[in-house]
Symmetry: C2
Subunit: 193 residues, 2 copies
């Protein structure tokens, strides 16, 4: 097993190909996670964003009150072949009118390039409407401004790049875990900015 820290550029490249993530928001220090579909975009200023679509509900109420969010994106092909990204960002709701009109259009454009982008935002609304009193449908386009993204990748060890062995024996690890960890090798890229 070969774990590697990903650079910011590698993380953004992976986000450009991803579509499904988990978004966490928080209220009174209680976190709440929901799955989201998103489209990644990078502005001319090099700011990076995730664009999404949802409907009014607990998630949007919480994020309006506290826009600090975390998004996790992973791809697990096998136990020793995976990629995991963690993003810290800010939620921004995009209003159709006014000075956000262009961003609102951009969100629709980006999302429409992807099949079924309106799930699960819309289906969530319909599920709720059936249980509770139907509320007016309020489609919400939003973006997450990415402040920090970190990532790890695990894969087979490239023959030409055998990693430095970590001195596991020097760590205070119990026998049974040490035996397991001997199978784990790590190469860390430079620290992310």
């Amino acid at each position: 097993m070969f774990i590697q820290q990903m650079s910011r550029e590698e993380c953004l490249e992976a986000l450009a190909h991803a579509r499904l993530g988990r978004l966490a928001c928080a209220k009174s220090n209680q976190p709440y996670i929901v799955p989201i579909y998103f489209a990644f975009d990078r502005a001319a200023s090099d700011d990076a964003y995730l664009y999404g679509f949802t409907t009014l509900g607990q998630k949007t109420e919480w994020m309006r009150a506290n826009p600090r969010v975390c998004v996790e994106v992973d791809e697990v092909k096998a136990h020793d072949q995976w990629m995991s990204l963690v993003i810290f960002g800010t939620y921004e709701e995009l209003i159709e009118a006014g000075n956000q009109a262009a961003e609102h259009r951009r969100a629709i454009e980006l999302l429409q390039e992807r099949a079924r982008w309106w799930e699960p935002g819309a289906t969530n609304f319909v599920a709720k409407a059936q249980v509770d009193q139907p509320k007016p449908f309020e489609p919400i386009f939003y973006r997450i401004k990415i402040h920090e993204v970190t990532g790890h990748r695990c894969g087979a060890i490239p023959a030409a790049e055998a990693p430095d062995d970590i001195a596991i024996s020097q760590l205070r690890i119990r026998g049974w875990l040490r035996r397991l960890l001997r199978r784990v090798s790590v190469r860390a890229a430079n620290k992310l900015p």
Copy 2:
């Protein structure tokens, strides 16, 4: 498409077969998500728990300060065949000695029934040790007490149970979304306790 709310029993049954989830904790209202492996267990008192293993890091520091967490578990086989659970719970660290010794042993027993349970907790530690100064290895067993679990499931519509059509036309939905939503049918089970 056919979305169904899951009862608490159905959610717990799904958890018994799941292994991978995403855990969110929060500090100063900033949420943070990490993937976790877990083992589900139910106490004689009917309290339900997720047991997990990790090492000292940002996640454990945050959860020690604020034990309110959220765990999301999903299984996506296709866009119209998925299951998603959201759990609100409390983090409890299990100490090897003292009155938590039995629970600590229980965590190890449950986790050891599952292959590779020590990932990603241990690999995360090794990755960090390579980048930062190696710290003493501190294996941490914990459990999440489940206070509330809700779930939704999406699948093909059973022929014998055609759902009531939701009166989408009565909702204030734009044409383009209305056309999409007409394809979505929903049946809601009784509200969860």
